[in-house]
Amino acid sequence: MSDVTINTKVQEGEASFGDYFALLKPRVMSLVVFTALVGLLVAPVGVHPMVAFSSILFIAVGGGASGALNMWWDADIDRKMKRTKTRPIPSGKVEESEALGLGLTLSAFAVVMLGLAANWFAAGLLAFTIFFYVVVYSMWLKRLTPQNIVIGGAAGAFPPMIGWAVATGGVSVESVLMFMITFMWTPPHFWALALFTKSDYGDAGVPMLTVTHGRKSTRKHILVYTFILAAVCLAAGVTSIGGPFYMTVAVVMNVLFIRGAFQIWHRDDEAAEADNYMAERKFFKLSLLFLFVHFGALMGEAALAPFGLGGW
């Protein structure tokens, strides 16, 4: 082997800018940006547009950093699963140590910058979110309990609380309820997907509810969580961030969602296979719309307020 061949081998694995960006899970980041923005805009305290823009950006960077740390920790299972095989680490484009370095650096950067741009309470909340997602979810509970989806959902639910904290410097009933909406929405959303996709979590050693408790129990779980979700969504409607517009949207969406959950609960796998999991697929599609519409309606209430139309 000559020096030239050694060089070629090293160069083959060299990552592009896009590969490093992919470590930050851009799709998850878009949800973080949207919900954090809503949390910030519906808060009763105004924020300078530049401070608001920077804060949302740093929250997104913090979320991305936790994604990179998650990919570093989960590299072993990502290599085993079809869905995650093409991620930058398993595909050999980025070294594990690079992902760790990028994740830690961006985490510290995002927390410090959010503290300087907005306030240290919001920065602390962002630091806790990163810690929760990486240590509590990824390292500790993901491979230990079939309730991993519920716990992971909590990490994804923090951004609107951080957005609210950027504006107000604290926590309130409204921000906790916004957290609860995403928190309670995640399990039925993900379990519906788990029912109609053939996942290889089992091969990777990650316990999923469909495998550990069976598919019938998963259907029951979806229904129960959907009821709790409806209660949370309606509760948010009677607080200062709600109003007639949000309430109307929430009632319609939750009636449709509960109907879908009932259909899923009511049937077994035999019936589901007969129509290629039609009800489960429809429920999953509706769940995507569900979260977007709820947070959009909250933003709508805030937008109507200057015209004397928003709120109760």
Binding site: S16, F21, H48, V51, S54
Partner: protein
């Protein structure tokens, strides 16, 4: 083969360098914008120590 020959790896490196450059440039713009926003919102502060200039405080507030 000449050393000057453009390899795919050079394009990738260029893309990475340009990307990092743009990110750093954007960071400078953000810090500048934040500084302007903070200073404008800060009200009557002195440049050298960020403490309120007593002569600028209205008479009733300083009593």
């Amino acid at each position: 083969m000449s050393f000057r020959k453009e390899h795919e790896i050079h394009k990738r490196r260029l893309g990475r360098n340009v990307g990092v450059g743009l990110v750093l440039g954007a960071f400078i713009v953000i810090v500048f914008g934040l500084t302007i926003a903070k200073v404008n919102n800060g009200g009557q502060v002195q440049g050298y120590d960020h403490s309120v200039e007593q002569t600028l405080v209205p008479a009733e507030a300083s009593e």
